[in-house]
Every structure is written in C-alpha cells, then in structure tokens.
Subunit: 321 residues, 2 copies
DNA sequence: CTGTTAGCGCATTCAA
DNA sequence: TTGAATGCGCTAACAG
C-alpha cells in the first residue's frame, strides 16, 4: 500500500510537507503543492481514512438514521431516492454513508451511541421528525450536528429539510381545478394525521376557497365509513390524495359504486409503477433526491456557508407531472 | 474520552495487558481478564474504532451496494427489510453498515473502490446479482469477500443468499390449487424475465402438472395484448403473480372484462399495503430480514463456521400468509 | 516555506 | 503470564 511516506520520499520532501501539500495547507508554496499533488495523483496515492480519522478525532462518515418499523411503511421508495441524493453529495466531500436501522427505539439508540462513541461520527441525518425522540435528545445533548427530513415537531431550532408541502398542496389543487377542470375535488388523506398531510390539505383548502368550491375531505380507515362517504357525495369528480396508496385505495372504493373512466387524480411523490390503477393519475413530484442533497448541504453548513434565506432549513420545490 | 491507558492505569496493569484482556487474547490469565473487563465495563470504556482499524489494517465496516437506478423499482420495500436484517447482525459483531449507492455504474464503482482503498473495507453485500458486473469483477480481482442477494448469473463460485424460489413457487401454487380450490390458475409475470420469476414459474408448472391442470402464463407489458389474453381465457379463476404489483395490475385488467368478487390471488413478498385491491390476496412471505441475517452469516463464514449444508449459499424458506 | 518531532489509540513484537 | 517498546498512517506543534 502506498503511504504518504512513499510520496514524500519520491518527491524528495519530508512527510509533513507532503501532508500539507495534499491537504491544501496554506503554509506551503504553490509550486511544491502542485508538484506533490501531481506526483501523488500519478502514483495513485490514496490516503488511509482510518489514520486520518484517528488524528482528526472525527470520522469521515455521516450516520443516516432510519425510523423504527412502526412508521416506515408509506415512505419506503422515498428512502432509496433520499439515499441517492445524500450519497452523491457525501462522495464529493470524501465522506461515507453509515446506516443506523433497528426494530426497536432502544436498539436504534444503542446503534447511534456506538457510532458516536466508537466510530467518532459527529454528523447525522434522520429520516423522520418526531416529537420527544430519544435519538434527537441524545444528539442535542452531545452537541452533535444533525438534520431531520421533515419539519421537527418540537425544538424549532433543529435543522431540517422538508418539502414545501403547503405550496405543493396549492399547486396540486390548482392543477386539479384549473388544468383538469375538476369541479368537486375531494381531498383524501390517511388516518394518521401526518404533518405533511395537514399542510397539503391547507393548500387544498386555500385553493378551493379561491375557486369558490366547497372543500371536502375524506380520511381513510374503516371501509364502510368511506363507502358511506362516497355514497353521500356523488358529485365528486376528482381526487387529490396525499400519496399514491391513498389515491388508489379511494379510487378503488369509488369504482365500486360508480362506473367511471379517466377519472382525474392528483397525488404526491409518485411511488408506484403505473398499471395499478386506471385512474388518470397525475403526481406532484417532490424531488427526494434533491431533498437528500439539500440535507447534506445543511449538515455541512458550518463549513460551507449556505445561501439559503432561512438558515437551518431548506424547502424543496415541487413540480407536477 | 476514556482510552485504554485509563483502564490500564486504574487496573494497575500495563496497556498491553489491558488490550489483551479486552480482546480475549489467550495469553492472559482468566483472573486478570475478568477483572479488567469488569472494570472497563463499569467505567464505560469503549474502544476507538479508528485506532483499532488502523492497527488492524481493516475497517469494521461492511459495504452494502445498491443496484443502479435501472433495475431498482420493484424491490424497494424489500431493501429496507434487508437492511434491518443485515444491520441487526452487524451490530452484534461490532460492525458498521456503509452504503454505496449511485446513479451510474461508473460512480458506483468509484464509490466501492474508495471504500476499499481509503476506507479499508474488505467485506461487501450486493443487493443484486448480475452477469458481467464491474463491481463484482473488481471485488473478485482484489480477493475481497462479498455475498450477493440473489443467484449469481455467472461465476457459480460466488457466495449468495437467495429465496428458495422453486419451493416457494411450488408452495404458492399448491396453496392456490389445494386450499383456495382454484381450477384454472394463471401465472402472471413481468416482462423482464427475472431469474426468480422463472424459478417460481417452474414451481407453478410442476404443481399444475401434478394436479392435472393446464398451465397458463401471462407476461405483462402491452395492455391490449394482455386484455386479449384475458378475453381468450375466461376460464381463469385464480392468479399466481410474481409480486404484488403484477398481481394488482393483472387483476385490474381482469376486472375490466369480468365482474368478479373475492378472486383468489397468490403473490410473493407482500410489499404493498392492503386496500389497493379487492382481490383475495394471499402472499408467500420470503422473509427479507432473515435473508439479511443469512447474508451476514455467509459474509463472516471464514471466521465463524457455518452449519449450512451447501457452503457458499443459503436458501431462505418461505411461509404463506 | 520546510523539516523534525511527537502523538492520536491501539495491538503486537520481543523480553522478562 | 505480564510489561516495555515499536509502529500502524497521518497531522500538527514547534523549530528553523
């Protein structure tokens, strides 16, 4: 294995000079810096992270924390895209993506603690934002840097990246009413009252007010209740759902009672293959990969100043497809 | 931070003795070993991975390689469960899970190379099995240990973990014909000819032969072709599909032409929430978490002998729910 | 601007 | 069985 000593020897300089050159330390002449970098490049020298981390007292790794099983389901496809966006940025910074994922909160906390204590990981990304969370409590307490995906429920000072769900709700509803010419759109949400659902609903309600149409919301759950709801609202001629699953489920129940075709639906976060429904499915794309990139930008904003207007948070725009 | 020197000092022994005690080195007395371990435990000592890795010349990390975007879609939910199973095992071994995920094969290879060269990672898990793959070529060439999820297309000597897709196909088909009393089951697969689909189909065909029913296969794809297929086969009274997506899509097309209810369907890998279809959906559970665990067992089988009958491969059983 | 020296935390050689 | 000394690869303090 090629070490920095080898490079120093071949360049005829001391090890510390080589180190300085390779790390762009200002205390070195432009000439030798370039000469040594070129040499290292030519020889294919690559630094040993473990050694670097040992001296730095900090690992070149970011811990990505997945939620425990209970609230994972609807988000799965999103996670993979997030990982892509995150890793693309980490690679550029010579960082590595380490995952913490466990079934119970206790195990998860252990996992994170070990990353901190043994692995010297000092930066984390959380794939959830939950009030009164042991992980975030731990990270805050140890003054470690972290960014959550989604708006933190408590602790307004936490850094986070989120979709601009209100705007996306407005955009989706406008598209439904304007482009798709729907007169009686129903807003369909899960039974979980997720924060993003509330924000998208708020957007929907603002638009219906503006268009002078009656807002109508259906929370999924017990099937017969939903069926009754549908029976009572035969006027419905379009759906805005908080995600593809909810869209498809509601549409299916609608089809039970009415024989419709090419029914306009706007949903978020296109996460399912086409072919699962014959609805006219449009989607508000929330750019999970961009979210991932933005997360990393925020995570390193102590080193690389950010041009975000609101320090500590980034909102990702949307696009309708 | 508490180091091994601190422990040695408090125990009144030298650093090397402390090191040996903590690593269960045989060259130490049972008594001092236990005494020092108890002390370290009480003091809350935790070793610094970077230092350990530096001396060991190898990182306590396993690289998990995701496929590039083109063949990711149908597997997403599966990946998360795999990660859970893998990480549970890694934590036990004091290992960390590092992810390589990129959009292009070139970037992915760079990612992996950096893990090897700079990160000193020597063990990998691949979330795919593909013939003529640059990543596996690289790993083989450098004699690094890796296990693939899924049967390797070439290189029969590679280690892998897979579902017992043939048996699962037999089990699913038997369930459909026997328990669900279906007389004319259709086998539905994607247009991709994945290896696991072929194996499940083989299972299906064996069972139909045994039950003396005509095997019937439909490959999804162009909608009107599938519609025609359905029209030509009004006898179909049950579906066996290679995954939930295919099951729901085919069932939807079937519903276009026939007004049926409580239609029996057997699928694999239950990956979608209920409520997306009104079919009577049964699922062959393939235990992705167990797969993850088994992968790690195989990855470390050089250190921890395995009781698997077939060295280098593990097949995960199934269960119908 | 560059070189010498020391040290990060740990495992391991060599002596005792 | 234990201890002292050395080195893993790299960075940084201190000299020059």
């Amino acid at each position: 294995m090629l070490t920095i000593r080898d490079i120093a020897a071949k360049a005829g300089v001391s090890v510390s000079t080589a180190s300085r050159a390779l790390n762009n330390n200002p205390r070195i002449s432009q000439a030798t810096r370039e000469r040594i970098q070129a040499l290292a490049d030519a020889e294919g020298y690559l630094p040993n992270y473990n050694a670097k981390n040992l001296t730095a007292g900090e690992a070149n790794a970011v811990g990505v924390v997945f939620p425990t099983a209970n609230h994972t389901l609807p988000e799965n496809p999103f996670y993979i895209d997030l990982l892509r966006g995150i890793n693309a940025q980490l690679v550029q910074r010579q960082y590595v993506l380490s995952v913490a994922i466990s079934k119970t909160p206790e195990d998860l906390l252990k996992n994170v603690k070990s990353m901190v204590a043994q692995g010297k990981i000092k930066r984390f990304i959380l794939f959830y934002a939950q009030a009164d969370d042991p992980i975030t409590n731990f990270l805050r307490q140890h003054k470690l840097r972290f960014v959550t995906i989604g708006h933190p429920a408590d602790h307004a000072e936490d850094f986070f990246v989120d979709n601009d769900n209100l705007q996306a709700g407005i955009g989706g509803a406008t598209y439904l009413l304007d482009q798709l010419a729907v007169k009686h759109p129903v807003f369909v949400e899960s039974e979980h009252d997720w924060g993003y659902e509330q924000q998208r609903r708020e957007g929907y309600e603002r638009v219906t007010a503006e268009f002078n149409v009656e807002p109508l919301t259906c929370k999924l759950g017990e099937l017969n209740r939903v069926r009754l709801f549908i029976k009572q609202h035969p006027e419905i001629d379009g759906i805005m759902a908080t995600d593809d699953y909810n869209a498809i489920e509601f549409y299916r129940l609608l089809r039970e009672q009415y024989d419709i075709s090419r029914f306009p639906v706007v949903s978020f976060n296109h996460s399912l293959p086409d072919g699962l429904t014959d609805a006219d499915l449009h989607s508000v794309d929330l750019f999970p990969e961009k979210m991932g990139s933005a997360t990393v930008a925020l995570l390193f904003s102590d080193r690389e100043p950010l041009e975000s207007p609101t320090p500590g948070q980034i909102k990702i725009p949307y696009e309708i497809k």
